[in-house]
């Protein structure tokens, strides 16, 4: 049982680190919020599952914490993206295809 708990903690730490790396490398606010929300949600859930396996006495509180985080994280990223759109901080390009040559039109 202990090894499964440690494995979950390792997975959670890796995905949290990858979330931070993704936010650093992405060019735009919308891309950054995608990377941050998806990867860090998985990271924190895996960490909490790992903690509850290592310490079964405190597992109801940890599961409640995981539920609370799952409820509140997507709404936070939605609010951030909407605020970024309102301030025109998102320079996303709607219709461009990187495989086209110069002068061709996307139909």
């Amino acid at each position: 049982m202990q090894y499964v708990g440690w494995f979950f903690i390792l997975v959670g730490a890796t995905f949290s680190f990858l979330a931070g790396l993704g936010i650093y490398r992405m060019p735009d606010v919308l891309n950054q919020s995608q990377a941050g929300t998806k990867a860090s949600t998985l990271g924190i859930l895996a960490l909490l599952v790992g903690f509850s396996l290592l310490n079964p006495q405190a597992s109801p509180k940890l599961i409640l914490m995981a539920l609370f985080f799952l409820f509140s994280s997507p709404i936070a990223s939605h609010a951030i993206c909407k605020a970024a759109l309102r301030r025109n901080k998102a320079n996303f390009i709607l219709d461009s295809n990187p495989l086209l040559k110069e002068g061709e039109v996307n139909d």
Partner: protein, 247 residues
């Protein structure tokens, strides 16, 4: 004319200061604190004896099931903050009240309509508010058993109201919050004065004989923490309402 007036004021100030210095010296000799001339002078009255009237070895002692004055609740920080030194805590509550009063002077009176945020936030906010109220309520109800207490519980409950305000839902009436805050503040002092008439000491816990570690233990400690939590939550929610309507 100016020189005579300033000379007169200086002489009066010197006289007052000398009187104060003499009085402070006399009081320090009487109470035996601070300035120690010799060790043979026994103090007539000590400030600590008037403030702290806790005797554990007496038959009429308040603390039947505890060894010291810091064992009335399972959480030692709670028993110091709410039972041992409740006077300091009430003064801190007064300081918070004066701060919020200052906020009320700074914020102007013109209010505008705020724009409605998105539908997702409007529909999802009550679920988050329920979770936060649950966490805050748990924290001040179990203030005497686990870490936490009334002050962070009030902050968390006010954060629940903040999420409601940011999502466009105004759940609590403005006037209700002011009434709650005033009633909670008056109740704290009323219970303190009542304990003065019952036990003879201001802010003394007059419900005794409980077992340490129960939910209903510690006498008046959960009651005080609940009142403090409501007061702090109402004050901070008032700030959020006024700030959000103004900016």
């Amino acid at each position: 004319m100016k020189d005579e007036k300033s000379l007169f004021i200086n002489i009066v100030a010197l006289l007052i200061l000398s009187f104060m210095a003499f009085y402070i010296y006399k009081v320090s000799i009487d109470t035996g604190s601070g300035i120690k001339i010799t060790d043979s002078i026994t103090p007539k009255m000590r400030v600590a004896d008037k403030y702290l009237n806790k005797n554990v070895l007496n038959e009429n002692s308040t603390y039947k099931f505890s060894q010291t004055a810091e064992d009335t609740s399972a959480n030692i920080v709670t028993s110091v903050v709410v039972d041992y030194r409740l006077f300091d805590t009430t003064l801190e509550v007064i300081v918070l009240f004066v701060t919020i009063l200052g906020f009320g002077f700074v914020i102007p009176k013109d209010k505008r309509r705020v724009k409605m945020p998105s539908v997702i936030l409007y529909r999802w906010a009550p679920i988050l508010m329920i979770l936060m109220l649950m966490i805050g309520g748990y924290m001040f109800i179990n203030g005497h058993l686990s870490p936490g207490g009334g002050f962070p519980a009030g902050a968390i409950i006010s954060t629940a109201v903040l999420i409601g305000v940011l999502a466009g839902r105004k759940t609590v009436n403005h006037k209700t919050l002011k009434v709650v805050e005033a009633v909670a503040g008056i109740s704290i002092f009323a219970i303190g004065i009542a304990s003065f008439f019952i036990k003879g000491v201001f802010f003394q816990n007059f419900i005794t004989g409980d077992r340490i570690g129960d939910l209903f233990s510690g006498g008046l400690i959960p009651v005080f923490y609940g009142l403090i939590a409501f007061k702090v939550a109402a004050e901070l929610s008032n700030i959020y309402f006024e700030f959000y309507e103004e900016c």
